[in-house]
């Protein structure tokens, strides 16, 4: 082989994966010019919160689980609320459901803006981090920060505060906003709408690795909506189940190199959740504006290149702004901020689309509302196997690169998934090893 880094046997090692929530390690081994091993390692036991929930009152679950993640607390609060409501035999609909969609728009805007501009864009513009990028792309960074702030504003008005919202409860909200409070958000959301289109224009100019893959995409689906709050679990390979059947079709496995559980589809293996899955399964249900922009500016009707997930996130950003505006326009203050629930011995399930993909909850409660057991399956642990598969394929295709470039590209490939390790465990450090 030539000397530009393509010796026959080598191991790639990356000491630390930057711009990912937490710490993890990636280990890639190359033998006789073939990738023989790619492992994403996660070091910490993840089930602290499930143990913490046992013995607590069912009404506490939304607030306790919200602490799992500072980036996507709504996914946890609503997943837990839905499960408790189901256990109590109650359904929350109408305007309260609309408000839940609206606060979720806030979370998507916040999370997607952060990832697009501060974490993923530096990769495409050739910077090591957002600091270097900020110096030369001030306008883009300022736009990203303002977009994120609009997500925060929605979270504040509906959630009571920006981080770890305290206003979401089983049955609805502690307090609902006035129509005036919501109407005041409109000018900023309209700005955010234009900024999302500008973001798509910017992303169109970037160069993306040619890396189309075949995935089994799994996402919620809903007959009338780009599903976020509820629906059936569907895949592009025929899966179509109610959320309570999740455990019959998906298995969480212990693997030697990681203390985080790996989720797989029974008898089929890896699957992908998150923006690409939602986009490819529910494209037709995006708002008209988002669909048109996706077709006109990119990434098009279908997207199977994980590096282009940054574009898909921008389409979802636009969708969340559009939907937010529609929800505000039709808002009429409800007479009561929540639906009353009475506990009974039962099991309840909840599953919503967190920015990174489905976040699944199951709780068993007692006659007095005490939580007997809890299971939470966050999106990042579900994507771990797909991340490894991508890495294996990507390294195989790019063995000609020198170690430094290959390592950097591998980190980028992991960031495609916007992994939020605080969800699946807490710290994730990435090591990608290469001995030559």
């Amino acid at each position: 082989m030539s000397k530009n880094g393509t010796t026959q046997n080598r191991t790639l090692r990356v000491g630390l994966l930057a711009r990912v929530e937490g710490e993890g390690a990636l280990h890639v081994r190359v033998k006789n010019n073939r990738v023989v091993d790619a492992k994403l390692k996660i070091f910490e036991p993840p089930r602290f919160f499930e143990a913490l929930l046992r013995g607590r009152n069912y009404l506490e679950a939304p607030d306790i689980t919200a602490r799992i993640c500072g980036i996507c607390p709504i996914a946890y609060q609503l997943g837990a609320s839905h499960a408790m409501e189901e256990a109590c035999g109650v359904r929350v609909d109408g305007v309260l459901r609309d408000l839940r969609q609206l606060i979720y728009c806030g979370e998507w805007i916040e999370s997607h803006a952060l990832h697009i501009f501060m974490l993923h864009l530096p990769d495409f513009l050739g910077y090591d981090d957002a600091i270097g990028m900020a110096a030369e792309h001030k306008d883009a960074v300022a736009m990203g920060l303002r977009l994120k702030k609009i997500g925060n504003m929605l979270m504040s008005v509906l959630g009571g505060r920006e981080v770890h919202p305290i206003n979401v409860r089983v049955g609805g909200f502690y307090r609902v906003p006035t129509a005036t409070e919501l109407a005041e958000l409109k000018p900023e959301l309209e700005w955010a709408r234009s900024a999302s289109i500008e973001t798509l224009e910017l992303l169109k100019t970037l160069t993306y690795p040619d890396f189309e893959q075949e995935y089994e995409y799994v996402a919620l689906s809903h007959p009338d909506e780009y599903a976020v709050l509820d629906g059936r679990l569907r895949s592009n390979r025929g899966l179509d189940i109610p959320i309570y059947e999740f455990k019959s079709h998906f298995v969480e496995e212990h693997v030697k190199h990681s203390t985080s559980l790996h989720a797989v589809l029974r008898d089929r293996g890896a699957y992908m959740v998150g923006p690409l899955a939602r986009y490819n399964l529910s494209f037709d249900q995006l708002t008209d504006g988002a669909r048109e922009a996706a077709i006109e500016i990119g990434p098009g009707r279908e997207c199977n290149n994980p590096f282009r997930s940054i574009q898909v996130r921008a389409v979802e950003l636009l969708h969340a702004c559009d939907l937010g505006l529609q929800l505000i326009d039709r808002y009429k203050e409800p007479t009561h901020p929540f639906v009353e629930t009475t506990p009974r011995p039962a099991v309840g399930f909840g599953c919503t689309e967190a920015p990174r993909g489905i976040c699944w909850h199951r709780y068993r409660i007692d006659y007095d509302g005490t939580i007997r057991d809890a299971t939470i399956v966050p999106p990042t642990s579900q994507n771990q196997k797909s991340i490894e598969a991508d890495l294996r394929e990507f390294v195989t295709q790019h063995l000609h690169l020198n170690t430094e470039d290959l390592t950097w590209k591998c980190e980028q490939a992991i960031r495609n998934y916007d992994p939020c390790i605080s969800c699946s465990c807490h710290f994730l450090r990435l090591d990608l090893e290469r001995d030559e």
């Binding site: 630390l16 930057a18 711009r19 990912v20 929530e21 937490g22 710490e23 910490e44 602290f48 602490r67 500072g70 980036i71 952060l114 501060m118 974490l119 981090d129 957002a130 600091i131 900020a134 110096a135 001030k138 960074v141 300022a142 920060l145 994120k148 702030k149 925060n152 920006e162 981080v163 770890h164 605080s422 807490h426 710290f427």
Partner: protein, 154 residues
């Protein structure tokens, strides 16, 4: 408002991750500060730090560090003059963290004129809401220093 301009103290951390909550603990031990001083608690996500600092003329931040040093050690950085070593705080709970936030704010021109960071070296960052003993001492030291400095200046 006083001669020192608008002043804020920002404590950073996750209160359920052991010594990671050192900055939050500092913010909660600042009794006796003049009312004109704003005290803020943040979990450590960078863009929130950028936004929180922007309205102030002077900001004092407290956070846990994980640099391999002796637990409880307190280090002070005058960020108005020098950058924080990025790697120093790299193990904080969020990868777009404090050091990056300060430098992005500097690049965008929104960094307040006077910014001081107190770093308290942590010992353990696992799940739990208790600080380790050396870190409790570090927290007390930082709180005292902040109170004394701000009393002198205001």
């Amino acid at each position: 408002m006083n001669d020192a301009g608008r002043v804020a103290v920002i404590g950073i951390g996750n209160e359920y991750r052991g010594d990671d909550s050192a900055g939050i603990a500092v913010a909660r031990r600042l009794a006796g500060l003049p009312d004109s001083i704003t005290v803020i608690e943040l979990p450590g996500e960078g863009t929130e730090i950028i936004d929180a600092m922007a309205p102030f003329d002077r900001v004092i931040l407290a956070d846990a560090s994980r640099s391999g040093g002796v637990p409880g050690t307190v280090r002070e950085f005058d960020v108005s003059r020098v950058s924080l070593p990025v790697r120093f705080f790299n193990y904080s709970t969020h990868a777009f963290g404090l050091a990056e936030a300060l430098e992005v704010a500097r690049a965008l021109g929104t960094l307040p004129p006077e910014v001081t960071v107190f770093a308290i070296e942590g010992q353990r960052f696992d799940a739990g809401d208790e600080l380790s003993l050396p870190v409790v001492k570090g927290v007390q030291e930082v709180a005292t220093r902040i109170i004394e400095t701000l009393r002198e200046d205001t």
